[in-house]
Symmetry: C2
Subunit: 97 residues, 2 copies
């Protein structure tokens, strides 16, 4: 977490690997790719984001992030949001802040 | 404005010039510099941000943005926040989305 805006957290993270599919029932989740590519596998499609691309996953939409080593993203979400949302499994990917 | 997260706007803008000093009484304002440098002149100091730097101006704190042509920033703030805050003068700088 690098900054806050009112009751929102701004996070910058290096990510690598596949993260379990999950959704956030209560909140949207915003991604800006600082160094890509970064994939969001949705139920019926795959969103591939490159450096400078942005994407907001709407509340309730299942998404599985996936990245190669070296990927760096910025996220915006309400304070206390779990990055794994409702996933019951552990996080498979690696998150290095 | 490039995306929303719940009731927040994410904006990416090319900015140049000096903007009038202003504050936002009701909200913090977050800046990420995508291409710098970008200056925030506060009452008693000047914050110089370079590519990748982030800064949150707390609610109520006066700040005057300043940038050379070619500067690109990302901002996060509640929907409907005026970039000029409480400034009564027009915007002197140039904002090109």
């Amino acid at each position: 977490m690098v900054a806050t805006v009112n009751d929102y957290d701004i996070e910058i993270a290096n990510v690598a690997g596949e993260f379990p599919s999950h959704s956030h029932e209560e909140t949207d989740e915003f991604f800006l790719v600082l160094r890509g590519p970064f994939e969001l596998r949705l139920r019926d499609s795959v969103i591939t984001l490159r450096e400078g691309d942005v994407y907001t996953v709407p509340a309730g939409v299942e998404h599985a992030p996936r990245a190669e080593p070296g990927t760096r993203i910025l996220m915006v979400e309400p304070r206390g949001t779990l990055n794994t949302g409702d996933a019951e499994t552990g996080t498979a990917g690696t998150r290095l802040v």
